[in-house]
Symmetry: C2
Subunit: 347 residues, 2 copies
């Protein structure tokens, strides 16, 4: 056990506790925690929790299938509520017909979306309504909006992120007014877009960043873009990110898949299916990335990459709908408005 001593040399503060079985997956304990929200109880609920998550749903029909499906949705929220109880996160339901007035008051717009109230902010969750996706999303929302990079080893972790948008800025310190503007801009996009900062001269040098400068990285691109005209206000940063957030190649993610899907280009999507872990898929993806790099300045090109491994429940559905075999990479055009699509089979 020499090795462990070695690892632990840098740590201290030993403490003991019970381990139980270690891997006890939570199952629903039968206690109802999800609130049926109405005009009488909503103020109290908003006060009671640090974060309140409201599912804005259409009225439920009385047939057996709709009832059962609604129960399943309730169970997703009940289990999330149970798991997140220690973090003071509450859950509720708002019916778009029965509670129309309340919905308007609270700013809930899209049926099927879940809205999160955190301090003064309203954040829309437009992703897969599964307990694990939702819990991860909400825990990410509890973290600091900006992640600070202190060393060159930590910078490696930053370098490894290439499949989503990221920003990094160099600032004097946590008290700098420009850092504060950056932090407030980050809150607008948390947890969808990752914001990093460094206060370290060496790290900044490695990144080619000047003081108070922020770099914007498009997914899959080798080089970042310096955001012009530093230092920036919060509004300038928000504006820049909003303008640049539709990337040439975007990976579909469970936490915002519906938002991405609705953001089509004149009614169409170019969709590529490729499993990154699979040699065929990897090879195909490398070509796709190269195409994206060569065409990053073309505003008319946007490709959605779907890794089927991220969506096991949709695989057979896609195969049936698009008449494709997802054991191999595929690319095609989907017409989102008039529900027709073409797919191209790879030789």
């Amino acid at each position: 056990m020499k090795a462990t001593c070695w690892i632990l040399a840098g740590f201290c503060l030993l403490f003991c506790c019970k381990a139980e079985e270690g891997l006890n997956f939570p199952t629903y304990d039968g206690k109802d925690r999800v609130i049926d929200l109405n005009e009488k109880n909503y103020k109290q609920a908003l006060k009671k929790y640090d974060m309140l998550c409201l599912l804005f749903h259409e009225p439920v029909s009385s047939d057996r299938v709709s009832q059962k499906q609604f129960q399943m949705t309730e169970m997703v929220l009940e289990l999330a509520a149970q798991v997140l109880e220690p973090r003071s996160i509450g859950f509720g339901m708002v019916d778009s017909k029965k509670d129309a007035k309340l919905a308007k008051k609270l700013g809930l717009v899209e049926e099927g979306s879940l809205y999160v109230f955190k301090e003064e902010r309203l954040i829309e969750f437009d992703g897969e309504l599964a307990t694990d996706v939702l819990v991860e999303f909400l825990l990410d929302l509890l973290e600091d909006p900006v992640e600070v990079i202190n060393s060159k080893l930590e910078l490696q972790a930053f370098d490894q992120i290439d499949d989503e948008i990221k920003l990094i800025g160099y600032f004097k310190g946590e008290d700098s007014e420009h850092y504060k503007a950056f932090e407030e801009a980050a809150e607008h996009f948390q947890p969808y877009i990752k914001f990093f900062a460094t206060f370290d001269k060496g790290v900044a040098k490695k990144l080619g960043l000047k003081m108070n400068e922020v770099d914007f990285y498009e997914p899959f691109m080798d080089d970042p873009v310096h955001i012009p005209d530093k230092p920036y206000t919060e509004e300038e940063l928000v504006e820049f990110v909003k303008e640049h957030k539709r990337a040439t190649l975007r990976k579909l993610r469970p936490e915002d898949m519906f938002e991405t899907w609705e953001d089509d280009m004149e009614g169409i999507h170019i969709v590529a299916f490729a499993e990154e872990d699979d040699p065929d898929g990897f090879e195909f993806l490398e070509i796709l990335k190269q195409v994206a790099r060569d065409n990053t300045d073309n505003p008319d090109l946007s490709i959605v990459w779907i890794d089927p491994d991220d969506f096991p429940l949709l695989i057979t559905y896609w195969e049936k709908t698009f008449k494709i075999d997802l054991f191999r990479p595929q690319i095609g055009i989907v017409n989102v408005t008039d529900v027709s699509s073409m797919h191209l089979k790879i030789q």
Copy 2:
């Protein structure tokens, strides 16, 4: 749209189909597909499907909470059965008390495990009982047991896998008897351990492989081990993998988490929690990997690495049980037998 033409240059066979909404997550359609298996109907069920999955469960108590939890488990299987219906995968339940005789006949041993019957094989699933994990596991089981690497670009995909065991062999071709032995050995471990092969001289040269030789890669190690005494029989390969499959550093995976957890070292586990996507976690993990590399020959050292991002539902449970904060990396010793643990807080 020049770019897309460029991508598509290598492909052909265009075809059209309806797209519907593209991202319609399956919800339970109300049709019961999971069979309550008994001595009368099991032969018919085994014949009807290409793969039959049986949950071997303990008798269900009559209290409300147990009933509700059992219903939830049934729903996990019902949804999996619905999604996988086009692939001829059937599902059933076997009660360990009521169907004890049948269980014995079929070789079902561990309560709570799911057993998959595929051709002549019986595969145990001892992972997280969630529909997405299960569906992905079963789809992986439908793929070929050996993945063939044809080019140096595909080899990059192979190189990128470093967090699980992998094997790669160089053979003359698909008809080689040594390749066939390798393929049959692969079936013993599918889909838990990945087997690759190449028939390409250039790829083999890059890997340093001689004809009919197989390399075994332990997770997180830079260099593989040549399996001695080539060419091998199926039994020799199976024996070697079984002997070497407990790695110095293992990542806990949803698909076999319980099996890993039960494979403790004299009643204890060294457990490290680290988020790979997080700069802190990444830095910590790099140290852990170095320790594993330095101690790969020490049979008494085995560390289980848990990335909390893979288990969002367990995060608050672990924090409570081990009294730790999982927003930061943590390492500790868990005593699996007498349910006590120590955790070491990182400074």
